[in-house]
Amino acid sequence: MAVVTLAGDQSGFLDLLLPLVPAGQRLAYAMLQNAHDAEDAVQEATLKAWRAVDRVREGSPLRPWFLTIVANECRQRRRNRWWSVTKVADLGEFASPGPEANEDSAELRSALRRLPSSMRLTLVLRYYLDLPFDEIGRVLKCSPQAAKSRTHRALAKLRVEVPEELGT
């Protein structure tokens, strides 16, 4: 895990930050479900992270910190009233829905969209980005145990939405 040891060293910080961009892009894509919006969100989040280089605590892991900024940026974008109409219209768009794209997948995506933002984020961090619970806890600003229970709660809620899909 990338840990900040170069506080104030901007070129060193950039070397640590840029490898995290693909993870940020995946998180934004899963949260916003639109490739263009995700790219914009990650660009903005990366610039914010870059500007906040002086505020990163030495020795703290960089990935959860960066993913927190990306998640906040995604939340901000979904809240934005200007684009709310467009976003709802675009929600079904997927640039690459994957080999298993079918009606069941669409149902799962639709159920995921109906979840509260924090639950969606928890599930994405755990099952899309494969983060351990301690990193999820850092992103959600809670303990690893709380992150675990939040993941279970989100999963239970998703199971209510799509019982057939999740085999209950």
Binding site: R26, Y29, D54, G98, Y127, D130
Partner: protein
């Protein structure tokens, strides 16, 4: 369904973002140190303040004084000039950002264009029979804000309804006020002492 199966299903449903060169593009953007970005903003602010102070001290006193008795154009022209006032700033800023121009340059451009438009309008407004022109100019100034506001609240019918009521109310006020002010204007011109800054344009 166990956890691994669910994970596979979950990823399959969400898909993967299309491949791109975002990290490489970001690397190009982030070569400028954050501190120099802050100094650019401070530079833009300082340039703006300096230009405004210089303009206030050096411009002649009659810079915005009208040179005509009656308005040069019809109210519609004043409306269009007013409506262009704020969007020019926005468009110039957007263009400068996309062209990666030095921020103080665009601030100076904004100030010069604003002064030019204001001078053009004030010198062309005239001193008499210009009520409709003044109102048209004022309405032109706020029209971009109205349009942005309506677009922003397009998905909220209650807000749109409220906006519509305000438009109807303003329309009614305008009709009543227009008739009243012309009556007053001519009464004052013929019988009464003059009020106001120039004593002629407004009752």
């Amino acid at each position: 369904m166990n956890e691994d199966q669910f994970r596979k299903r979950f990823r399959g449903a969400l898909g993967e973002p299309p491949p791109g060169d975002l990290p490489r593009r970001l690397e190009g953007k982030l070569t400028t140190a954050p501190s120099s970005r802050t100094s650019s903003r401070a530079g833009a602010l300082a340039a703006t303040l300096a230009l405004l102070v210089i303009a206030a001290r050096k411009l002649p006193a009659d810079f915005l004084k009208t040179v005509r008795t009656q308005p040069r154009w019809r109210p519609r022209a004043f409306f269009l000039l007013g409506a262009a006032f704020f969007p020019i700033w926005l468009l110039a800023g957007g263009f400068a950002a996309s062209a990666n121009l030095f921020p103080p340059a665009i601030m100076v451009f904004d100030i010069i264009v604003s002064l030019w438009i204001l001078r053009l309008i004030f010198r062309s407004m005239g001193t008499e029979l210009n009520q409709a022109h003044k109102v048209a100019f004022a309405f032109g100034l706020i029209s971009p804000i109205i349009i942005f506001g309506i677009v922003a609240s397009a998905s909220f019918p209650l807000v749109i309804m409220n906006d519509l009521l305000v438009v109807l109310f303003s329309n009614k006020m305008w009709r009543k006020w227009k008739a009243w002010t012309f009556n007053q204007h001519y009464s004052l011109m013929q019988n009464m002492p003059k009020f106001g800054g120039d004593g002629r344009s407004m009752p």
